[in-house]
Symmetry: C2
């Protein structure tokens, strides 16, 4: 408890320090669904510290709902898509990814990501155009003179906005497909020998064949992977900025990257001074449950409860799969508290509050990073049923750290689910490991949310954070990899060898011809 | 001022948190001279937070003086060297490095470092043997059951002690020769295209030829550089541990690395989760000067004062060089406060207090990291007269950031020194840049000293910090660089090409022979 008190104190101090200067104006370019829920925690904190926060949202936003927040300002711009179009499109795409795309092949994780990204690319470019080409909107934003643009780094457009509005840029990001954005725009290093590429489903301790596969993934992501329909985006960027560029190039502009993981969840890997790892920033100590829920939980007696949630995007589960899960849960000996996140969508902190309840024995999760961090924060072992994107990888991480059992959503039977639950509840090792992760999460010099807000304020105070950016950003790719230097040195060595050989041959010939002459004489 | 108050509050909280558990026992393996002055700041803080700190010092220690500190315990072990032997040896070695070794050639910085390291290696192995082979001492230390071993990472022996005593290990380190220890033991990455190797005297923005030179340095440090007389050390390690190892290998054991720089001084470069950058942790707000000194400073009127110090090792300056400096200072129009650090050796915080005095206009420094950080902390522009080791590099950093002018100790004239001083005092850009660095230094989520102590306590709490170490430590060098994987993939490609070619040739032959048959028929 001492630690929590600590953090609250620090929070007051930081905001006090900032206020002694001036309060900042923050523009936000969010991403919808769980990304928004996550971002909103940071925005609420910024507002509480006296900053003026304006969210730039399209009229088609699903969860980004101006009516549900009072302190955050919204700038809603019209877009040709309707809310239902957008939600339908997202649900159909995910249904296809979860049920229809091939699984368990070497390329399936990558093709899944490409499928999702290309799908969203279509929608995103439409929304981005509707924002950026809306002259009235842009003029208004320019006149507002924002101190910083905060954006979810999962897609383009924020970089373009920052360029137009000439504001420093801070990204919040879980990860991009194959870490391509972190690598090509952020300058992060991912040595393939011990950093498994996201979606590889390997841990940091890889066998030889896993390292071979990881290398093939890395090569694929580096040379073939196209997150978006690049031609369209390049053309659009050229149109707006009046010069040819790519979004990897414009995203390099970012001053600070707030990565939504930490070393309890992630395997240690190289970072850079302008990257901070704020995983679990959205977690808070549990609030008391509503009375009826508390009664239900208490009635479970010594057996305790299990929290179940498959995330914000699984509303259209097939009946067959739902039955498998329901029949497993029905036969279990302990009381259950089954929560579909969809039902309480805008209140996800409240749902996860159950994880902090002393009676909670396990968490059945799809492996979204938000939920996983709640489980880590509260030290609850997990049964992971990953669906798509980074979720299989997330569960692999928790499995490698001994805090989760993994199941396959499409093929698992009721018995599988039952056995997995029994394992994580009855084997004390799972609880121990989950508690160990929890201790790591709680034991940081500063709380993740405080650091997230600190760096956003920092970028405002210093009008960017150029002094934290590596000089690598100013190098071309062949300079960065020292290919010109290596080429030059090899050329020098080759020339030296050539000259020495020539000299040797010349002297040899001199010597032999001299000998011949002698013999003749 | 709000920021300082902040940090003090945090300090109370952390120690409160730790005390709610238990207080720790810290064993310290220090390095002498300025390294000790620096380390002592951390030890004092640890003591203040209730930890039991025991310094393991040889009887030949020069500045590590048990009589001058009360709260820190000392375990002094006898060694065949005397205090005077040690100091004489150090002074002679440095005299040779500063005055006699060739300067300004491509290899001179490297050979300088090798000269120093080999010299100290002789002494260090003697002291190390006298500690480690002292059975009574080792038994006593083993029985004391220390929670952590804190050591200066500049040399070997601490790793051996940690191995024998089975304690977690935390290093404090400015840098090793060519970053070899950070790279080979710590696992840090130093891309040669934008990270100038220490002693290269390049900034992070290198020309093509500078990048070529940097690459040559890197290759030299990677493949030829021998920090110590390795045969002797390897033999000694084998003797003690009973198995062949190297000190790069045993140093890998370190749980946490506290690097004594930060991004105000250093150029941004990749780091790892178990590295923290605590540069300037020894700096404190200035205390009022003693009355006579204050009178002297005030008498300078509007002109202000300049602080002068060439560090703790320059007591044997040649008369000729001393005259050059004195005559320059004599003609200057403003009052001078000339302080030789040697005179007030154990009180270096008091000397540097002058840097925080509002009348201080500039700092003439040899470029030791301690002094540079005091200047950064207080925002004072510098005239750098580097002598050896990392000092030229340190001044290059400050010059690149626009806060210093560099002079050559051996060749500068009085006029050079005078002009340099006039430049940094009269050109407002130098003061501006120094103030900018100062703002960066003061604007961190947690104070460097608090972080240093936090991580030491952290390692005690978690009995190490294995979860922050990259898996790279378990790989061989060819696995680490993926050479086996690349070899395998190339072999696969070669085999595929071979088989395809063979098949093509086979079918070609089939086809042509079939045609010939046809023609014959």
């Amino acid at each position: 408890m001492a630690l929590r008190w600590t953090s609250v104190l620090l929070l007051i101090q930081l905001s006090g320090y900032f206020r002694s200067g001036t309060c900042g104006k923050v523009l936000v370019w969010p991403t919808d669904y769980s990304h928004w829920m996550n971002m909103k925690i940071i925005l609420d904190e910024l507002v509480q510290r006296g900053h003026e926060v304006t969210v730039l949202a399209s009229s088609a936003s699903v969860l980004i709902d101006p009516s549900k927040t009072s302190a955050i300002k919204f700038e809603v711009f019209p877009t040709s898509l309707s809310k239902d179009d957008f939600d339908d499109f997202a649900m159909k795409l995910l249904h296809r990814v979860i049920y229809d795309l091939p699984k368990d092949t070497f390329w399936s994780p990558v093709s899944q990501i490409e499928e999702i990204m290309w799908g969203f690319s279509e929608v995103m470019i439409k929304v981005c155009k509707d924002a950026v080409l809306n002259k009235k909107l842009m003029t208004k934003l320019q006149e507002s003179k924002f101190d910083v643009l905060l954006a979810d780094g999962v897609g383009p457009c924020a970089d373009l906005l920052a360029e137009i509005l000439k504001t420093p840029l801070v990204y919040s990001l879980r990860c991009s497909g194959g870490y391509t954005i972190e690598k090509h725009s952020g300058g992060l290093l991912f040595p393939p020998s011990y950093v498994p590429v996201v979606t590889s489903e390997f841990s940091d301790k890889m066998t030889f064949m896993e390292r071979v596969k990881n290398m093939i993934y890395v090569l694929y992501y580096d040379f073939w992977f196209q997150a978006y329909d690049m031609k369209k985006w390049d053309q659009f960027y050229l149109e707006v900025l009046g010069r040819p560029t790519t979004f990897y190039e414009t995203m390099k502009k970012a001053d600070m990257w707030l990565i939504r993981t930490y070393w309890d969840f992630d395997f240690p890997r190289p970072l850079l001074p302008n990257f901070d790892f704020i995983g679990g920033h959205h977690c808070k100590p549990s609030k008391p449950l509503p009375e009826d829920m508390e009664d239900f939980v208490q009635s479970s007696g010594e057996n305790g409860v299990v929290v179940f949630s498959l995330g914000s995007l699984i509303s259209n589960m097939t009946e067959e799969r739902a039955n498998v899960i329901a029949s497993a849960l029905a036969v279990l000996y302990c009381a259950f508290l089954i929560l579909f996140l969809k039902l309480l969508m805008n209140n996800f902190a409240e749902i996860y509050s159950n994880l902090g309840h002393p009676k909670t024995k396990a968490f059945i999760t799809h492996g979204g990073i938000n939920g996983i961090y709640e489980a880590i924060y509260h030290g609850v072992p997990m049964v992971g049923i990953p669906l798509f994107w980074d979720q299989p990888d997330n569960i692999v991480h928790m499995k490698a750290k001994g805090a989760a059992v993994r199941l396959d959503f499409n093929t698992m039977s009721s018995t599988d689910l039952l056995n997995a639950l029994k394992t994580v509840i009855n084997d004390p090792l799972y609880k121990e490991n989950a508690m160990k992760l929890s201790r790591i999460q709680h034991d940081q010099p500063t709380k993740p949310l405080d650091r997230a807000v600190f760096w956003i304020e920092y970028v405002m105070r210093h009008k960017g954070a150029k002094h934290l950016r590596v000089a690598a950003h100013d190098l071309t790719w062949f300079q960065y990899h020292s290919l010109d230097v290596i080429g030059f040195l090899l050329a020098c060595v080759a020339t030296a060898i050539f000259i020495i050989t020539k000299c040797c041959l010349f002297f040899c010939r001199m010597f032999t011809s001299a000998e011949k002459k002698k013999k003749r004489e």
